[in-house]
């Protein structure tokens, strides 16, 4: 995918220049995050529920609730705006957060915790990671 995928316009909105294939990848990523939030058997679930204070067995329930609430709000907004040509700042932030969660959940689930391990991973996984990175790089640049 050449060129910028997200572009900031003069009116402040961010134009989404993903083609159908690109939007399908985003749809799939958002769908996985949405499913992983509620399904404890989903391979991304553990990644979405990491410890806040690792020195304690259980985190503060209010903080855990806030995390789930904010994550749900972001992914629902991202899913709702999947077909949009332009995003406002809140929508772009929701896309960035959800894409970044999908990227980190992918490496956590596959045990890719070092650069060496990333080099050794299979082509399909590496392509997927690089695609999400390209989305994120362009979106961050536009924000």
């Amino acid at each position: 995918m050449a060129g910028r995928l997200f572009v900031r316009r003069r009116d402040g909105r961010i134009e989404v220049r993903l083609n159908d294939a690109g939007r399908e990848i985003a749809r799939e990523a958002f769908g996985h995050v949405l499913a992983a939030e509620t399904d404890p058997t989903h391979e991304w679930h553990a990644s979405l529920n990491g410890p806040i204070d690792p020195s304690h067995d259980v985190d503060d329930p209010l903080a855990t609730f806030n995390r789930q609430h904010e994550m749900t709000s972001n992914v629902e907004l991202a899913v709702a705006t999947l077909g949009e040509e332009f995003l406002n700042d809140a929508e772009a932030w929701a896309w960035l957060c959800t894409l970044q969660i999908a990227l980190r959940a992918t490496i956590t689930a596959k045990g890719i915790l070092t650069s060496d391990r990333l080099e050794e991973t299979d082509d399909t996984t590496r392509d997927y990671i690089q695609t999400l990175q390209a989305f994120l790089f362009s979106l961050a640049d536009a924000m």
């Binding site: 915790l113 990671i129 990175q133 994120l136 961050a140 640049d141």
Partner: protein, 100 residues
């Protein structure tokens, strides 16, 4: 069972002082490195969540990248938890720890 004796004034002062020291130790928000998150994404997240200027956000991102972790904020427990939650919601590896 040992008998309970009332605390002397000096003991009370010492105890209060120790408690105050414990409660005043700040909590650190720690962001950890990972091999895939684009650097520019980390900078955008620090700017958005903490309101840091671009140079400070970039400096912290580079510390995470080179040292494996960085303390990005320190302060009271509740606010540290709040920031940690926001960073995790934004997809970064983040924890809190009390300052030693």
């Amino acid at each position: 069972m040992p008998s309970l004796k009332p605390l002397r004034v000096s003991d009370q002062t010492q105890t209060e002082s120790s408690v105050a020291t414990l409660t005043e130790r700040p909590w650190n928000v720690v962001v950890w490195d990972d091999p895939v998150t684009p650097m520019s994404v980390v900078v955008v997240i620090f700017r958005k969540i903490f309101g840091y200027p671009n140079n400070k956000a970039t400096q912290l991102m580079l510390t995470v990248h080179h040292e494996g972790r960085a303390i990005v904020w320190s302060g009271p427990l509740e606010r540290a938890q709040g920031y940690c939650v926001k960073l995790q919601v934004a997809g970064l590896l983040c924890t809190i720890e009390q300052d030693s």
